[in-house]
């Protein structure tokens, strides 16, 4: 039952199916309706489901995210679309202080089955205020789950997984992936939240990545292959929880690790992964771990500067060499 489709359409299809199957599901956010969605994910859904279920909100990230949380507390299954992660800072109080804590504060009386989707990442020359990659940063917050679909299949499956989850789930969608094409099989049983996926097996070095960087890592792995380095590439899929098991299993096989991550380097999710490998598989390491992150600058507009700031296959290959050559 598999077909070729885009990341955007896979996501739309998943939302449509969820809305058909469950009256409690609704989608709300800026321009999700009449405009068709800032990245056109919800294009056509207003016509199908009407303005009570495809809800155009005013610009008020804190207000409509908080309203989504309230709706979730009171029986609904909201999908809140924050146009991009950059604007989610305005909603952080609601996300951290309410969505993530309510269950604990109320000793389990309340749970918050909300799904918050947002576009993330740089690469479209949108400059400093529109290019953050904060998914790794959000993964710091207990009470949340943080998903990063990279493939078309996951773009589809993660909507369903997130809606089925009784707790708040954040989905980070790389804006550059919406047009990406891939195979979707809607009959497949989705890989659960919290499971990483080995995308390419290898024995020499483990490359961990998520979101768009998975593809950069795979591209780098091809180059490395030609150079005789057999890289194992893993799609993390979920940054909270992280799949320690899959990560450590790979480390035990390859004994060399690097991480690719679009967050700013200091305090990135790469750091956390390194910390965990240090804690759980230190003696398996043959060399220092490496990471390719975004340079620690507000992302500049000019293409050559933006490109220089971001991870790319060449940087990944270079880091792989460094990790391989060491020791």
């Amino acid at each position: 039952m598999s077909s070729e489709t885009t990341y955007r359409e896979a996501m739309r299809e998943a939302i449509r199916t969820a809305m058909q199957e469950d009256e409690r599901v609704f989608l709300a956010g800026e321009d999700v309706g009449r405009y068709g969605g800032s990245y056109a994910v919800s294009m056509g859904l207003l016509e199908e489901f009407g303005p009570e279920r495809i809800v155009d909100t005013p610009l008020c990230e804190s207000g409509f995210t908080g309203a989504g949380i309230g709706a979730a507390m009171n029986g609904m299954r909201p999908i809140i679309e924050i146009m991009t992660v950059n604007f989610s800072l305005l909603a952080l109080d609601q996300i951290m202080n309410n969505a993530a804590t309510l269950q604990h504060m109320s000793a389990g009386q309340i749970n918050v089955p909300i799904v918050i989707r947002m576009a993330t990442g740089a690469g479209k020359q949108l400059a400093a205020q529109h290019s953050h990659s904060l998914e790794g940063w959000y993964a710091h917050i207990p009470g949340l789950k943080v998903l990063t679909p990279a493939t078309v299949q996951d773009a589809h499956d993660m909507i369903g997984l997130a809606l089925a989850d009784p707790d708040p789930v954040l989905i980070f969608e790389n804006a550059l992936l919406y047009n990406a094409k891939g195979t979707l099989d809607i009959t497949l049983k989705p890989l659960p939240i919290g499971k990483a996926k080995v995308e390419k097996e290898g024995k020499d070095i483990t490359i961990l990545a998520y979101g768009i960087n998975l593809f950069k890592a795979l591209e780098a792995a091809e180059t490395l292959e030609k150079e005789g380095i057999d890289a194992e590439v893993i799609d993390l899929r979920s940054l909270r929880p992280l799949d320690d098991e899959t990560i450590m299993a790979s480390v035990k096989k390859t004994h060399r690790v690097m991480i690719v991550d679009e967050g700013w380097k200091s305090g990135s999710i790469s750091a956390e992964i390194m910390a965990r490998i240090n804690e759980q598989a230190f003696y398996e390491l043959d060399a220092p771990m490496g990471r390719v992150c975004t340079m620690e600058v507000p992302i500049p507009y000019a293409r050559h500067l933006e490109e220089a700031a971001l991870p790319n296959p060449a940087k990944i290959v270079a880091m792989a060499h460094k990790v391989m050559e060491d020791a």
Binding site: F64, G70, Q103, P166
Partner: protein
């Protein structure tokens, strides 16, 4: 006195207000005795607001409150012993000791907390009302907050959404003239908060928050308005907090005389006067109520004292739902 105030109702109001008063007076003692810790924000002086509003609600209506919510919780019928146990941090507390004074929750009573980020509850109330509308439930969500919250962006965002979508929310602003140590005139360019609320095209009234009957009357009208589908209502209740903002407050920012003046029109005093005028005071048997209330509080303290400590092994419980522990 517009309300059809019969003796039963008068007794009930008096009981509720006295319960809050005595409960919190006991809390002060227990704080000094270090039985209660953390922040403790007393509602003393403001009892008429919670009482007048909440006693007028239907049991299906929902409540979203602030960190100053002991009164609201008690009036809503959360047992005083469960509230007291929570203040002790005991496992028998209504939030199993995890929430404390600022985070009382009782979903069985549709009491949805207890929020300590000023303004943070308002969008939640909007969302709860949205859910009720979508699910065709004819319920109201009441949201309490202080005058200080009015300056926060979330106030603005929430009022706009509620008005824009004509949602069944009753906003109750407890205007006690201060946000911590900052008088309203230093916080708002327009100090008539009801007037501000009107600018969102929300039906809005400023009422005497010291008069439980006025509050109940206004609430009744507001609920009718909301149930008729005409959208949210905003009530600004003029009240005053007799005590410090929290247990750490030296009260440098206001005059003792001002406090005294307000005490004279406190909710219990005002109510008694009104009942006397109506010839009802003698019928409510204040002494009996006083004793009942004292008994409830004694029991609550005993319950809390005898409570147990949540198992430390359960610290990580309730971070994620059990079904999909990960």
């Amino acid at each position: 006195m517009s309300l059809k105030l019969n003796v039963d109702r008068a007794k009930d109001y008096y009981h509720q207000m006295l319960l809050i008063r005595r409960f919190e007076e006991k809390c002060v003692e227990l704080y000094s005795a270090e039985k209660i810790r953390g922040f403790l924000h007393l509602y003393i002086g403001e009892e008429a607001v919670a009482t007048g509003v909440i006693r007028t609600l239907d049991e299906e209506d929902a409540i979203v409150a602030t960190y100053r919510e002991h009164g609201h919780a008690l009036v809503r019928g959360i047992p005083a012993d469960r509230v007291m146990a929570e203040l002790y941090g005991k496992a028998e507390g209504i939030s199993h000791g995890r929430g404390g004074s600022m985070h009382l929750f009782d979903v069985s009573k549709r009491f949805y907390g207890g929020y300590a980020i000023v303004g943070g509850g308002l969008p939640l109330a909007v969302g709860m009302a949205l859910a009720d509308r979508r699910l065709n439930r004819d319920r109201v969500t009441v949201c309490f907050f202080g005058d200080g919250a009015v300056a926060e962006g979330e106030f603005h965002e929430a009022l706009n959404l509620a008005a824009l979508w004509q949602l069944p929310v009753l906003f109750v602003c407890e205007n006690n003239l201060y946000g911590m140590g900052t008088a309203l005139k230093y916080a708002e360019s327009e100090t008539n908060i009801a007037h501000k609320a009107k600018s969102y095209n929300i039906t809005s009234h400023q009422i005497d928050g010291m008069d439980v009957i006025a509050v109940a009357d206004a609430t009744e009208k507001a609920l009718k308005h909301i149930h008729s589908g005409k959208g949210p209502v905003f009530l600004e209740c003029l009240t005053y907090r007799f005590r410090a903002h929290s247990m750490f407050d030296a009260e440098l920012y206001r005059d003792k005389k001002e406090v005294e003046k307000w005490r004279e029109k406190g909710p219990l005093v005002t109510f008694r006067k009104k009942l006397e005028e109506a010839g009802l005071w003698s019928q409510i048997d204040a002494d009996t109520i006083e004793k009942e209330v004292e008994a409830v509080i004694e029991d609550a303290v005993a319950f809390a004292e005898n409570g147990t400590w949540e198992d430390i092994a359960d610290l990580e419980k309730y971070v994620y739902s059990p079904e999909v522990a990960s």
